[in-house]
């Protein structure tokens, strides 16, 4: 553990900026959980000691500058194409650890095809999917993940299922595909859930390191600015409304499945 001496007293440092982040301050709005998500990813990368092997794929969205904030190699790609580029990079550099960082507009709208096929092919890449139920960067348009009744600039009366369908559930959709090794949905609404999210992200990277297949963590996040809420209210909205529509949990766990397959079958009767 790091120590510092302040006014003659020696202290252990229990929390500080992870090594896998640069010194650049995040450009996100105050209270935006993109920052929190970056921080826990960097902590996981530090703990797994894989910083020197990581290649990040920066998608388009508010996190478009994520290559500035993580301290390892990055490729900046067009909107929606992150998992296609990650596939190519991983195949050329099988020892690299590939991470895509994608919003819901990126992963679940324009990039749906890339997402489904990367998962179905069981690409050994780790996808961090930040679901804030909106297109944040472009000014708050409706995303496929927007909740019913939610007002956005392109659904000013609130999302109405009969006209524009239902919020899309990517974790539930992808987990039945045989290429999926680890799929979990986590939330960033309080410290306990942030720690759970960190554990899930670590497992997702482990799935890649152990060559198990595709891994994705869906992070329920906020966009207080385009939701027109204070950060505190936005976090409450994630806790109450987002988790109600998008249930938290592990949707696919290859290690659990392997364990179950090894158990001797119980005899009937």
């Amino acid at each position: 553990m790091d120590t510092v001496t302040l006014e003659g007293t020696e202290y252990n440092v229990l929390a500080k900026r992870p090594e896998s982040l640069t010194d650049k301050p995040f450009t996100y709005c105050p209270g935006c959980n993109h920052g929190t998500t970056h921080k826990i990813i960097a902590e996981v990368i530090d703990e797994l000691d894989i910083q020197h092997r990581c290649i990040g794929i920066a998608s388009v969205g508010c996190s478009v500058f994520s290559y500035e904030f993580f301290d390892f190699d990055f490729i900046s790609v067009p909107h929606g194409r992150a998992l296609a580029v990650a596939t190519g990079a991983k195949r050329m550099r099988p020892n690299a650890v590939l991470m895509t960082y994608q919003g819901d507009g990126d992963l679940a709208a324009i990039g749906t095809a890339e997402t489904i096929h990367a998962c179905n092919r069981g690409e050994r890449v780790t996808c961090i999917f930040v679901n804030n139920a909106i297109y944040g960067m472009t000014g708050g348009q409706m995303a496929p993940t927007t909740l019913l009744g939610m007002k956005t600039t392109t659904s000013p009366l609130g999302r109405d299922a009969t006209r524009i369908g239902w919020p899309i559930k990517m974790s539930e959709m992808l987990s039945p595909l045989p290429g999926a090794a680890y799929i979990a949905r986590v939330s960033m609404h309080d410290a306990k859930h942030i720690l759970k999210a960190k554990a899930a992200i670590k497992k997702a990277f482990r799935a890649q390191l152990e060559d198990k297949g595709f891994s994705m963590v869906e992070v329920l996040s906020n966009c207080n600015v385009n939701w027109h809420m204070t950060p505190e209210d936005a976090v409450k909205f994630v806790k109450e409304k987002m988790t109600e529509n998008f249930p938290l949990g592990v949707y696919k766990d290859v290690w659990e499945e392997e364990k179950a397959a090894k158990q001797p079958k119980k005899e009937e009767g």
């Binding site: 510092v4 229990l14 929390a15 500080k16 204070t230 950060p231």
Partner: protein, 76 residues
């Protein structure tokens, strides 16, 4: 004794750390402006109640909180 440090210029004044602290040690005093023109929160702990639980640092989106705990000196 554990304590925290708020990095004034990194803090964006989102206030998420305030309800996270079980001992109500972080306050929105608006006593000073930072380089960004925002009000950083302040750590006020005259009685040394901080337990070093890190909850404030975990919820901070801008990595603006450092948590310290005194190194225990081994008695001879």
């Amino acid at each position: 004794m554990p304590m925290i440090e708020i990095l004034d210029d990194a803090c964006k004044g989102c206030l998420l750390c305030i309800p996270a602290c079980p001992h109500e040690l972080i306050h929105n005093t608006k006593a000073k402006l930072n380089k960004r023109g925002l009000y950083p929160v302040e750590y006020v702990d005259p009685e040394g109640k901080c337990t070093g639980c890190r909850l404030c640092a975990i919820v901070c989106p801008d990595v603006a909180i450092r948590v310290y705990k005194e190194v225990k000196k081994k008695s001879a």
